[in-house]
């Protein structure tokens, strides 16, 4: 067809879109701001609910994008793009101009900056870490505290930056619950002597095999789940973390000490995405993610003709959903390119 599509973002959605488009013979330029593709997937060691290694998914994505039809541009971001009558002109950070028939935005998400929840002391207390930090520990194969001792009691705080009016995020990131359950199990696997407690507001186990994983965590791994939003964290004299929470089911406030606290950071519109929205005039919703044209049958379509969305730049999604959403975007693009002929 001789068409050219620019895909912005080389994460799961971007790679899937690029791979699928090049399969049908469309020329693709894939723009990635980092030095390598993979996006947030690179931070994760194993995936829920089956705890397969994230590298397997990366292998798959690398496989479908190992294609001559894809022009991969790393360390590149978009400075500007303009819509002309039937094409777009895009200026990259390198000063290059790309002419594209369509654009797919796959800028993904950023993890909520946990330091914004000051009361949890991320970046202030020695042993408060985020889910991503924990994944890195898993990758390294060791879970240890700042002073190189092994934690015995680990707390996991759900909903950090999600469903929280105080940080301006009303929405549910929907994957942190199952991530917490997965990580709790992994901690217990790594440290069989440890005790793990999850503090949740609601257990949102809406995905396939999520509930089963939750049950496994309770039954097999003895993970305790306490319903209540942690209100504050402080450090004790022996460098433990004291949390205050209401055990809402007992109807009583509760205090508890931990060696390590893991914050389940939620998902937010990525910085890159915000930038694109600004320069391209793309509409965003109240949740700051890109607003799709229609929530039911136009979730890939933007307010600008020829610009499409794929993946978590529109809402929190797991990898399965991201890939499905990316494939749906491919269909929309092909449809669009056909019509514009």
């Amino acid at each position: 067809m001789g068409k050219h599509v620019v895909v912005i973002g080389g994460g799961v959605a971007g790679l899937e879109v690029a791979g699928q488009l090049s399969k049908v013979g469309i020329q693709v330029s894939l723009i990635e701001k980092d030095s390598k593709t993979g996006g947030n997937l690179n931070k994760w060691y194993k995936l829920f609910p089956d705890r397969r290694k994230s590298s397997e998914v990366k292998e798959y994505l690398n496989g479908i994008t190992a294609n001559d039809g894809i022009n991969l541009m790393t360390n590149t971001s978009i400075e500007m793009f303009n819509r002309h009558r039937d094409h777009f002109s895009i200026i990259t950070s390198g000063g290059r101009e790309l002419i594209a028939d369509a654009i797919i935005v796959a800028t993904g998400f950023d993890l909520f900056k946990s330091a914004r929840k000051e009361e949890y002391g991320y970046g202030i207390y020695d042993n408060v870490i985020t889910s991503a930090d924990l994944e890195e520990m898993f990758s390294r194969g060791e879970i240890s505290l700042i002073n190189n001792t092994i934690p015995e009691k680990i707390g996991i705080i759900h909903c950090v930056g999600s469903r929280d009016e105080k940080v301006g995020n009303f929405y549910c990131s929907k994957l942190c619950c199952v991530t917490a359950v997965k990580q709790a199990i992994e901690i217990r696997e790594f440290l069989p002597e440890s005790k793990v407690f999850c503090f949740y507001m609601d257990m949102r186990m809406g995905g396939v095999f999520y509930e089963e994983l939750y049950r496994e965590a309770q039954e097999q791994w003895g993970v305790s789940f306490i319903r209540g939003k942690v209100s504050e964290v402080s450090e004790t004299i022996d460098n433990q973390l004291l949390i205050k929470v209401e055990d809402t089911l007992a109807g009583r406030p509760l205090k508890m000490k931990f060696d390590l606290l893991v914050l389940m950071a939620g998902m937010e519109m990525s910085e890159g995405g915000r930038k694109i929205a600004g320069i391209g005039g793309l509409r965003t919703g109240e949740n700051r993610f890109f607003a799709a044209n229609d929530n039911h049958f136009g979730s890939n379509i933007s307010n600008i003709e020829g610009v499409f969305y794929a993946g978590t730049c529109t809402a929190p999604m797991n990898i399965t959903e991201t890939i499905s959403h990316a494939r749906a975007a491919v269909i929309e693009v092909i449809d669009y390119l056909k019509d514009s002929n």
Binding site: R215, S224, F225, L249, A250, R252, L254
Partner: protein, 114 residues
């Protein structure tokens, strides 16, 4: 000592670290399904005793787990062991055994105390 017309209030906070959770451990060891409770309250809703009193197995489960044993001790006696809770539980928690074990554990802790 009511010297000033008031007394120093006792905290309501559950102090997890200083609470005695041996009763909970005793039950965990013998009835692993104790861990499976998701606090749905199905047991309390159908409870024969709950029809007459504020007895709630869900609440007792949680208080035992937190080591708030003194609140449990007396309430536990009210259970009639009829087993409706067992049938209702969506997680297959062996609720009756938990009650029986808790009773035993309290009995044992009393013996040790003497």
């Amino acid at each position: 000592m009511d010297k000033f017309g008031f007394t120093i209030s006792e905290g309501r906070q559950i102090d997890y670290e200083s609470n005695d959770r041996r009763i909970a451990e005793y039950i965990f060891d013998r009835e692993p399904s104790f861990r499976l409770c998701i606090e749905c309250g199905g047991c309390s809703a159908t409870c024969t005793t709950g029809n007459f009193t504020d007895f709630s197995l869900r609440e007792l489960n949680i208080l035992i787990k937190r080591g708030e044993n003194e609140q449990v001790r007396e309430k536990l006696k009210k259970c009639m062991l009829c087993g409706k809770c067992n049938l209702v539980c969506p997680r297959g928690v062996n609720t009756r055994n938990i009650v029986v074990l808790a009773k035993k554990a309290f009995q044992k802790s009393d013996e040790y105390a003497i």
